[in-house]
């Protein structure tokens, strides 16, 4: 693919490429470092445009909780700059390197533009919001090669239509992000986890709901069907994470443990054991997906999760990991049309949505990797796409066939 690789060094060069692409009606695959190339559908384009040479943090004001970076800036560079000032990315985006290892031609880190374009959020989503909640500003180049900004570098902004949210999670189909501005926060100095062993998933979701419906403000609520044997947690285990100043973490962990003790055996994990555990949950490691298996993310209301899990287990040998209080199911299983159909059916029946997160090209190309939109919305969708990318040159087919 490298001979077809366009890697502009400046935003204006990038704009020129898109102007020509639109003039010639030439579709382009849009990438950062391509770490999530295998996410959603394969793109129908001969050439790839990468923003990997648009790099660098352009503004960082720790006291104003704001950071701007060019889209190709590697995520680790941003995380390091934040860590130096005791801050972090609020949405805790997963590191998908391990999940996409088999597909990755070369190992480069994810870029911030890619993370934003995929709206990837980790466990903290439940308490602190999704990636898109923290995108305060974007610069993008639309299909016609116009540079457009939306939002800004302040934390509260309702001026005009919010293209930051529209572009976040649009997987490069509406515009090429060239710079993003994020709200950041001080990283809490301490954390701990209350682990409750539970009979089954239904009991586990009830424990998570009780924790989230308490005054103690957990910042993570996950459920490991097989526990975490390396930590001595056997069988289904509900995890509630607390992140704050040490005195608060201690007090809140003990209060939660006392409250949830009657639901099952409680283990308290201090930061040294809690931090790696949540990193694993964030990256879906406990899912234990085999390289040849497909991976889905299904989002439902938490109380519907046990039902989804049960119907999937009936359909195939589904591996599961629950996050977001049960509302996010990571699922792994055979990469086949039948399993995909089972996932779609279960998500639909629960009133939720699905994403085929990883799978072989054939399955991805022939599947609805995301739920199709109802007709009136699909019509609006097509018009919005045309408003930003009239000739359809940006990542055609990435989200839906023919779009």
């Amino acid at each position: 693919m490298t001979d077809g690789l366009l890697s502009p060094a400046t935003e204006s060069e990038l704009a020129g490429i898109l102007r020509r692409a639109t003039a010639g009606g030439e579709p382009l695959a849009i990438e950062g470092n391509g770490t999530k190339r295998a996410l959603l559908r394969p793109v129908q384009a001969a050439r790839t445009l990468t923003v990997r040479h648009l790099t660098g943090i352009t503004l960082y004001r720790p006291q104003e909780l704001i950071l701007s970076a060019r889209a190709g800036t590697p995520l680790p560079e941003i995380e390091a700059a934040l860590a130096e000032k005791g801050q972090y990315l609020i949405a805790e985006p997963p590191d998908t390197t391990a999940l996409f290892e088999a597909e990755a031609a070369e190992t480069r880190p994810a870029t911030i533009g890619g993370v934003v374009a995929c709206n990837l959020s980790g466990p903290r989503r439940i308490s602190a919001g999704a990636m898109r909640d923290h995108v305060m500003g974007v610069r993008l180049v639309n299909g016609q090669g116009e540079v457009v900004h939306s939002g800004g570098r302040v934390l509260k902004n309702v001026t005009g239509l919010d293209l930051c949210k529209l572009l976040t999670g649009s997987y490069g189909t509406l515009g090429v992000l060239t710079e993003v501005t994020l709200k950041v926060l001080p990283a809490p100095p301490d954390s701990a986890t209350v682990a409750v062993s539970v009979r089954d998933l239904a009991a586990g979701v009830r424990v998570l709901s009780a924790g989230l419906g308490s005054p103690f403000g957990p910042s993570g609520a996950a459920l490991l069907p097989g526990g975490a044997p390396e930590l001595g947690l056997q069988g289904p285990t509900a995890l509630l994470r607390l992140e704050d100043f040490s005195d608060s973490v201690r007090y809140r962990a003990e209060s939660l443990a006392a409250r949830l003790g009657r639901e099952g055996d409680v283990t308290l994990l201090e930061a040294a054991r809690s931090v790696p555990l949540w990193r694993a949950v964030r990256d879906a490691a406990p899912l234990g997906a085999l390289p040849e298996e497909a991976i889905w993310r299904v989002s439902v209301r938490p109380s519907a999760a046990p039902g989804v899990a049960a119907s999937l287990s009936r359909a195939f040998d589904a591996k599961l990991l629950l996050d977001w209080g049960g509302g996010l199911l990571w699922i792994a299983g055979p990469a086949e049309a039948a399993t995909h159909a089972a996932v779609m059916a279960a998500a639909r029946a629960a009133g939720g949505t699905w994403t085929l997160f990883r799978g072989p090209d054939g399955l991805r190309a022939s599947s609805e990797v995301l739920p199709p939109e109802p007709a009136p919305l699909a019509a609006i969708s097509a018009r919005v796409k045309a408003a930003l990318d009239p000739r359809g040159v940006l990542n055609p087919g990435r989200m839906h066939a023919g779009l």
């Binding site: 898109r132 934390l155 902004n157 309702v158 419906g213 408003a387």
Partner: protein
């Protein structure tokens, strides 16, 4: 005054017919009058709808229709769409930017009769409510069980969730809990064609484009929201406030920086300048320090011990900045007393000057001292007083400009002063509006923040939802540069008058 577009004469001429058609969709109730009525068309009874929170602007609509169901909203929009009739959605009409201001040829669609709470689920921590439920109404329905709906605009007693969604409203506690957009799961949207679309749902982060994010804060430009699914949160064990007075705005600003740098994010961090302190004290007798140039109200949450710990740390930080006084509430009552003045700020300023414009820009917090200094110079130049309330944690600034509505010249100057302040906000790296929306008020300033092609980009997205520009016209987007469809059709002036 900001100009409104010419009414369409053919629509004005068809008024009776339109009213009759609307009555057929939303019949009046046997009770008659008041809220039982489906359509209002008598000039006198249109009065309450002729303005919103930006009361200097007034314009009675063609008619007001008050649907009670999503189906009725859909039928109204289908009818209006077919007939090229403009519509102005309305919640409680508390918009401070003229977002709900009617047009002479528009039908106001008021959502206030859609005020039922449809579902409350503590396990999934959500509530499904109709668009006309008030903001506080949601919290009132769940607070007995320890839950609350987080965004808390000062207008929360009156403003409605549909209006909150459309303005992406914030509140004093959004530093910790976020604004409306961060607390939604889904909406039911009726398009201008009368199609009902479920956006999002009862789960987090629906896959696909983030329509919910685009619709939130869209000021009625993209469709009418009839139902909203909000996230509910469990309240913390308790909260307590402290009040710190400083000798200069700069010093208070430095203290804010130091608090954030320490890693503490209070649930609220409110700043008031000298004129605001004096206005509030005269009104509320909250014991505010009149000798201070600036004052901070800081609130933290948690159990009593956690509150003590955080307030103690914040106190220690503030003491590095030579404060005039530090008052830490010991009880919930003392906290209320500290908040009393701030919560009554609008009323307080209203006492000094019955007419004021409440501005709403956002600035990078570090620029506060410079912005206040330059605003002071403008205040002298325009000969109008201004008091400042500032959400210091997130940079959202509310200058209250006092003027005399009986003197058109005074109003003109107030508007100009306000525009200058907003331009200043943009100049220092901020934006025109942090939470009140563009509406009519800031419409013609949009060019200060966006290049023409950027506004065109936004207009094309608006057109994707509303090709004929019937939804809440003359708001958000400057009138010059509107697409052809939006202008349909420049009526002959004489004809407009005759109608």
């Amino acid at each position: 005054m900001i100009p409104l577009p010419e009414p369409k004469p053919d629509i004005l001429a068809r008024r009776d017919e339109i009213v009759a058609a609307l009555r057929a969709i939303v019949p009046g109730s046997a009770l008659g009058g008041g809220l039982g009525e489906g359509v209002i068309s008598e000039p006198l009874r249109l009065k309450p709808y002729e303005t919103d929170g930006l009361s200097a602007y007034r314009q009675p609509p063609l008619a007001v229709v008050l649907p009670t169901s999503t189906e009725q909203v859909a039928a109204i929009l289908r009818y209006c769409h077919r007939n090229g009739i403009r519509v102005v959605p309305r919640g409680a009409g508390t918009s401070l930017s003229g977002g709900a201001l009617p047009l002479a040829d528009a039908v106001v669609i008021g959502l206030m009769r859609m005020n039922r709470i449809l579902e409350i689920d503590y396990d999934d921590r959500l509530a499904v409510v109709e668009a006309g439920v008030t903001n506080l109404g949601i919290t009132k329905a769940v607070e007995g069980d320890g839950f609350f709906y987080a965004p808390d605009p000062s207008s929360q007693l009156a403003c409605m969730i549909g209006g909150n969604v459309m303005m992406n409203s914030g509140g004093a506690h959004c530093l910790k809990y976020g604004v409306t957009a961060n607390n939604l799961l889904g909406v039911k949207l009726v398009t201008i064609e009368g199609e009902v679309i479920g956006i999002g749902g009862s789960h987090l982060d629906a896959a696909g484009y983030d329509w919910l994010g685009l619709i939130t804060g869209s000021e009625g430009q993209l469709g009418i929201v009839t139902e909203v699914t909000v996230r509910l949160l469990h309240a913390a064990e308790g909260a307590r406030a402290m009040l710190v007075a400083f000798k200069a705005n700069e010093i208070a600003g430095q203290a804010v920086d130091a608090i954030i740098a320490s890693g503490i994010i209070p649930v609220a961090l409110e700043f008031m300048d000298r004129p605001a302190i004096h206005a509030c004290e005269a009104f509320a007798h909250a014991g505010y320090p009149l000798e201070a140039e600036a004052m901070l109200i800081i609130e933290v949450e948690g159990c009593a011990a956690e509150q003590d710990a955080r307030l103690g740390e914040i106190r220690a930080i503030c003491e590095r900045f030579d404060p005039i006084s530090v008052r830490v509430a010991q009880t919930a009552e003392e906290s209320l007393a500290i908040w009393k003045g701030r919560k009554g700020a609008f009323g307080a300023v209203g006492r000094i000057s019955p007419d004021y414009l409440c501005m709403d820009g956002t600035i990078p917090t570090s620029t506060l001292p410079e912005v206040l200094r330059r605003m002071g110079e403008m205040s002298d130049r325009y000969g109008l007083k201004v008091a400042n309330i500032f959400h210091a944690g997130d940079g959202n600034l509310h200058p209250l400009i006092m003027f005399d509505a009986n003197d058109p010249e005074s109003f003109r100057r107030a508007e100009e002063f306000g525009a200058d302040i907003l331009k200043l906000c943009v100049e220092v790296g901020g934006c025109l509006t942090g939470e009140h929306g563009v509406g009519v008020e800031k419409r013609d300033l949009m060019g200060v923040q966006f290049a023409p092609h950027e506004l065109d980009q936004q207009r094309r997205i608006k057109s994707a939802f509303d090709p004929q520009w019937l939804l809440n016209p003359a708001k958000v987007f400057p009138l010059d540069g509107l697409p052809e469809a939006a202008l349909a059709r420049a009526p002959a002036r004489a004809a407009a008058r005759a109608a």
